[in-house]
Symmetry: D2
Subunit: 336 residues, 4 copies
């Protein structure tokens, strides 16, 4: 951390800041500039609350130097983490395609979709049993019966299953039925849930909050990692901006940025990233070209009957076309 | 809801949409424009997922007409809701000032602050025992011992206490010690927590998510209201924008907007809204001038020793000056 | 500026950066941390493009220490700048109310409005002759005849006139008719226009771009100041965010921030800041409570016939009520 | 347009709105819902200012139905527009790569870069002679001598040249030297400049404002089109969001959205879209995979000596590698 003093800060104010830093066990590096004095804190100062120093007289601002995450960082672990889901490897050479409906609506809907996405080339099945909805009047998911249907589809198709978990006390239940615990965008900073997912040791698909920075996403992963659970896949699913023609803005930059900063695999969700099925294939191709390790795509046999997210769900035949397109792009960038 | 057909949509596509709407029990109002056909859905269509219709062939977009919230709306309840906290009324003529430290750090720190803010004119005490922190390496709050200290401060000063609750299973515990359950910005769409808070019947201070629209805030209130709990105070605490000189951007517009649309009282948190103590008083005055019902302000006897949010915490004497300033503005707008 | 080296940067890379900095005539302050080496640049490094250094091998990032503006800063000029408009002082003790229609539509409309706002207490008249419109099919203003009408209103009422100028070659024309050159939000970074306004020596009302930071606003003022023209009023008019219930989000924080950082006066435009007349009075009161030096308010005798911005225009009687409310708040904060 | 009346609007208020609409020569389509009355305006109502109606008593809001652009729309012109630059076709099957330095700094720098990018596969040369800079203290470009150097490079390499024009009076000068007039992000809504560029008939590269919606970009194109100039290329160059690890957020969604809505070609600028050279290749590949028609890339022989944008400039050898990668992706999506 760098502490920048105000222009005109007194020698006493500088000395007081220095003694505070030293009193915490850090060394100080003092730099007298022409307009500002700067105090460098030497050592791993991540545990210090920078805000304290901003409250001291004569301090203009503080600037962090170290990134706040450790375990999630490439500095800590240089080689790529590969998460294995019953043999399906996320983070290796192959692009993993996870597909299925937004919500499990019925046994027949899910089984039909599961078989269709498998045939089209998906290797993981998605589907929500617990649904976070903006409105209390919207369909909230089937709950535990939905989980049982997912388990049946898993048995039928052999596809590992990813499904959302919404509260800490649901973790054991969901972990019993599913291969991957999905933590949704709205819960990215639900710390009680992150702790529970970390303790479970179960693979986690952690979605970026729609207005969370990449750094905050990595800090949420750090919560899970700090419990010894390294089986984490990060998911870019679009962020909230001022643009109105799409539901969210897919942050394509996030893919190379995360790959550079972290060893964890990155999955792109172009369905939420765009919010309209017409744009899903283009953005899925873009994600693979940019270097993502997997795709998460909403598929519904009859989108116009979907109880949620119909506008962004692909019909199975369109999904099959998307997989074929994505395959070509994957090969063009040396993946498959 | 209005369903806008694409230019060039066929008669068959229009007929199909109409039959789908009618099949759901709604009447249809058809309008043939020069460039677009528009299908109006007559009736309370809030429970329908609009996304379904956007997946139908020939549909360009759908437009909601009704606001999605009901119980939170002034249409539903015209007169202001007043939430009574052990005699302190939030939403009445008087501006309620809630103050205290970001986090309960020790018995002496809290009791000292509690007495100081009471003397300066605060009528509710704030302080966090459970703290949501971006980093797993930061101070996470004292937990239950923190709640006990709050209860002691309450007994000592007579001030009702507001403190954060972070997960559904903490609700009974926190409700036993505190007068108001605070739901933090990161948890505004933690639906399991909203349900639990709703069922508790306890007063709730619901903070707007830093990434949430006013409509989403009202929808989260709707979750609590749908359990029959009307004792809700909404809190504007700044939103995330591109501006970097302040921690958040206080959405001052939200105050008149919420007062117009909803009957629930509105509290402003200028400490988080700005992130710097130098700006807190100016924005507190602005909030009262704009019509808020209360203020939530961070006060710490020694901000430079605060374990969190030191930069935005006021010293007790500065807080006392703020209360005096706010009082004059309150009188200028006919409050006290 | 601070240059942060990557973890693992070689001694040669550090030496190369140091020699580059020294080659530019600056001194270097080297700090070897545990995880990172930091190179401090001593001296006024504002003219250097930091981006160069980020292109050097081994550099992780650069961090500016000095604020990039100089002439606009309180460090440069401690006392408040007061801009005098034919006797009306902006930046002094009195709050200046500038009011009038969005656009000059006709002689009768403008003269009627001018007399009404004067009677209600406005001391400056606003009105657009050149209108920047998103659509080429919208009313673009009356042009020079509009300026003549403004001059007539000025003669009739004695109110100084503020009106927008949209391109460098219009500056002499507009300066001949108006007391203040308004530079609109969309042109805040139209540097050719800023240069022309600077050279004119005429008072300038510089509106913040709807997605510009406060720092960028001050840098645009710096362009004008660098021509020796200090007669600048900064105008906060709302920024673009994700919130949809209002046209823009009034950045109320910007008022105390600018007053702290700069000596220039600040005017608030609650009409654009909210986009709806119902919210204008509340936000106008808030602005005065927060410390602004003036208000810019759209008034139209018949908003439902306005050729632009009808939804955010006040009728004269509502404007008169607003002025009365604002007066009380001004007195509550020691202004008048 | 749809006009939504407030719940409780009186019959008289409805009748008044209806008569106003009819008085403007439009037909009305009235729909009496259970909670709201809706008034549909039949006909091309793009020229009406919707804001007028929002000012009428009893009106809650208005909703546009028609998109505000016409000439830029696929409804108006179904087939793709191809802009020919001295034989180089933008918008056809081939992906056009435009490359060169941010700014022309010297004759030798530009000629060296021009030959390098040509050899690597670029077919258009970029380079700025007039530079819009946030700070008046930064390098502002060489001006006319820079244009002369560009013309020399053009003669030497045969590459058409794109360069920025910053004000209406510069248009004839720049058009004399350059093949394409670039309108920069900060000037996207500089209407005087759009008019001048439209009148010139010269090819235009119109960059999206960092704060502008896709709709606003298309409306700015509409200004140019309304002068009969169809030789427009739209450029996505990243938008401003809350994310801090990159300079801007590349809106990859914008590519399929614009291709669907408009016939104009789309160019992606991954240099500004990311702001860091390490991420440029990944995002360039993504753009091509998503369907863009061209790329605009900053290349500098010695980025660490660049007078601007060094951090996002590629060295020639890295640029050559990028072109090879992009070529493979282009073939994977059926382009070349």
């Amino acid at each position: 951390m760098i502490i920048v003093m105000r222009s005109g800060a007194s020698a006493g104010q500088v000395a007081h800041v220095v003694s505070r830093v030293e009193g915490m066990g850090y060394k100080v590096h003092l730099s007298q500039g022409e307009e500002r004095t700067i105090i460098g804190v030497v050592g791993d100062d991540r545990p210090i609350d920078r805000s304290q120093f901003e409250a001291l007289d004569g301090v203009e601002k503080t600037v962090p130097i170290l990134r706040p995450f450790k375990l999630a960082s490439r500095d800590f672990k240089a080689q790529d983490t590969v998460v294995s889901l019953d043999g399906v490897k996320v983070g290796g050479e192959a692009i993993v395609v996870m597909a299925g409906p937004c919500a499990v609506e019925s046994r027949s809907q899910l089984l039909e979709t599961a078989m269709a996405v498998k045939e089209a080339g998906a290797t993981v099945l998605r589907g929500g049993a617990f649904k976070p909805r903006t409105s209390p009047y919207s369909f909230q998911g089937l709950g535990e019966p939905g989980l049982e249907i997912l388990a049946e589809a898993r048995a039928l198709t052999g596809l590992p299953v990813v499904t959302e978990v919404m509260s800490p006390e649901q973790v054991p239940l969901v972990a019993r039925f599913a291969d991957v615990l999905q933590i949704g965008a709205r819960n990215m900073q639900n710390y009680a849930l992150l702790h529970a997912a970390g303790e479970s040791g179960h693979p986690v698909l952690l979605k970026r909050g729609m207005m969370s920075t990449i750094e905050e996403l990595l800090m949420s992963a750090e919560y899970i990692l700090s419990h010894g659970n390294q089986r984490i896949m990060l998911c870019e699913r679009g962020i909230r901006t001022f643009e109105k023609y799409t539901r969210n803005t897919t942050d394509i930059n996030a893919i190379p940025v995360i790959k550079q900063m972290s060893h964890l695999p990155v999955v792109l969700d172009p369905s939420h990233g765009t919010g309209k099925w017409e744009y899903v294939a283009a953005v899925a191709r873009a994600g693979v070209a940019a270097g993502c390790d997997g795709l998460l795509i909403e598929v519904h046999p009859r989108p116009d009957e979907a109880m949620s997210d119909g506008a962004q769900s692909l019909k199975p035949e369109r999904f099959a076309a998307l997989v074929a397109e994505v395959r070509k792009v994957a090969e063009a960038v040396g993946r498959h």
